[in-house]
Amino acid sequence: MYLAELVDAPVLQAGSRIGHVVDVRLFVPRHTEGQRVGTPEVFGVVVCPRRTGSFLGFERTDARAPALLAAFFRWRARGSFLVLWDDLAAVSKDAVELRPEAMRWSPALA
């Protein structure tokens, strides 16, 4: 499986489309023996109700400047949310399916 296939893929829940994958959030653990950077694993997917493309970095809480652009891109990203890996029911390049009871978390990246 390739990660870029998931980016922009439609997101389904209970049979209907609720948005698109904007980004795939990875967890990079501390590195183990023989590595310099730990092997990242999928932590969750960031979903936006519209197909807006990338948030250009404005999902990070410390990205507040330049103010007008930040406000515009945050407005474009309104209604987006993070779903953790455990709440995904199926993942393929055609669609990402959420469990019916999937929790929606804040998409902000600290």
């Binding site: 493309g53 990338s54 250009l56 970095g57 410390d62 990205a63 400047a65 330049p66 103010a67 007008l68 652009l69």
Partner: protein
């Protein structure tokens, strides 16, 4: 002398951006038709390129990333490819025009038909890209290009009527031209001041020279000396045309008409200096656009690039530049007017501007890249104001070009 060489990258970038063959002729055309009533656009444009070149240079010095790498990284492959297609096309047109421009300048100097000079010019450009060190290249072309200050000398020798020029500069819309034509040239001059290849070249040149955080001061100096100098010289060219040609009703169409006021004011010696300056400036612009063609493509696709490496270490980068020069030669061999080629390209460049300057503005604020060197609030106010202006120019460019029939 050392001070001059320290700002060589800025001077070469600005000469290529402001004083390439298209700009030299456009400025003279504008001067002969509108006097100084479009001078404000040059001033606004110079400030704009200073704002964005400063950010691009700063990002390159702090993070080592050149502008097209930022475009690919932040906008993703689809938008980056859209930008690449537009920028590369403009770049190729400009490159073609510059090679033609070198040949036209050599024709002025030698009376040998420019078509015979075209292959010589193209080969010389390739030779410099292939064999000459980056710093020697920028120092020599920058220094000889400074001979264009001769236009300023000619301007003063022509005895400018400051009252009249001031009246032109203050009067926004001359009555004898239609508003659409006036605004077409305004967008063309603005687009020319901010042509994307300037930041591609400037940021990549900064990486080639190995700038780091301690060179931030040098980066700022390059921007603040280079671009205003370029703007000043383009105003001088427009001023010469306004003084010598506007009153007698000559509309500039060829390079020899551009230098007419210089010959009139300063005689043969100044004319020789100016022609030498034009050769150096068009040569510098040809180098800048040839290298930019390689830089943009290599940075989009992740090829190894760099003029400071042996060509064999950057084979696709060098092959791209050879192919571009050969295409330029082919286009010129058809006998197309090089000056006309750039007038079209300048307008198209307005369309590519937003996709180039948005990622620069965003990344210059990204603490992951910039750490403590993120933009100040004042720089962001200026950057966003200019980004708004760039959007307006980009939207207006093509309709204006169609309505006015390319400024006729």
């Amino acid at each position: 002398m050392k001070k001059i060489f320290a700002v060589a990258l800025g001077i070469l970038t600005a000469i290529g951006g402001f004083l390439d063959i298209g700009d030299i002729v456009t400025n003279a055309v504008v001067g002969s038709r509108f006097g100084w009533s479009l001078a404000w656009v040059v001033v606004v444009g110079v400030a704009g390129i200073c704002v964005f070149a400063h950010m691009a240079g700063k990002v390159a010095a702090v993070s080592g990333r050149a502008t097209f790498e930022l475009i690919r990284e932040r906008l993703g492959p689809r938008m980056a490819l859209a930008n690449l297609s537009a920028s590369f096309f403009i770049n190729l047109l400009t490159l073609t025009a510059e090679v033609g421009g070198i040949a036209l300048a050599l024709q002025l100097a030698s009376s040998v038909n420019y078509l015979l000079w075209v292959p010589v010019a193209a080969f010389a450009v390739w030779l410099v890209v292939w064999r000459v060190g980056f710093e020697l290249m920028e120092n020599v072309t920058g220094l000889i290009g400074l001979l264009l200050i001769g236009f300023a000398v000619a301007f003063f020798l022509l005895g400018p009527d400051w009252g009249e020029l001031g009246r032109q500069a203050a009067q926004l819309m001359p009555t004898q031209e239609s508003p659409a034509t006036y605004w077409f040239y305004a967008v063309a001059l603005f687009g020319a001041a901010l042509t994307p290849y300037e930041v591609f070249f400037f940021s990549s040149g900064a990486v080639e020279e190995g700038w780091s955080v301690k060179d931030l001061g040098q980066s700022r100096l390059n921007v603040l000396v280079g671009f205003p100098l370029g703007g000043f010289l383009s105003l001088a060219i427009a001023g010469c045309a306004a003084l010598a040609l506007l009153p007698i009703g000559v509309e500039v169409g060829t390079l020899s008409q551009v230098v007419l006021p210089v010959a009139e004011a300063g005689g043969t010696l100044l004319l020789v200096a100016i022609i030498l300056g034009i050769v150096a400036a068009t040569f510098g612009a040809a180098l800048e656009t040839t290298l930019s063609a390689g830089y943009t493509l290599a940075q989009f696709f992740g090829w190894t690039w760099g003029k400071s490496k042996a060509p064999a270490q950057a084979a696709r980068f060098h092959t791209t530049m050879i192919v571009c020069l050969v295409i330029g030669l082919g286009v010129l061999a058809t006998g197309v007017d090089p000056v006309m080629v750039t007038e079209v390209s300048v307008v198209f460049s307005a369309v590519a501007l937003p996709l180039t300057y948005l990622p620069i503005l965003i990344v210059a604020n990204d603490p992951d890249y910039m750490g403590e060197h993120v933009n100040s609030r004042a720089l962001n106010v200026a950057g966003q104001a200019y980004f708004g202006l760039i959007l307006v120019a980009a939207v207006a460019a093509v309709p204006l070009m169609i309505v006015t029939g390319v400024g006729q």
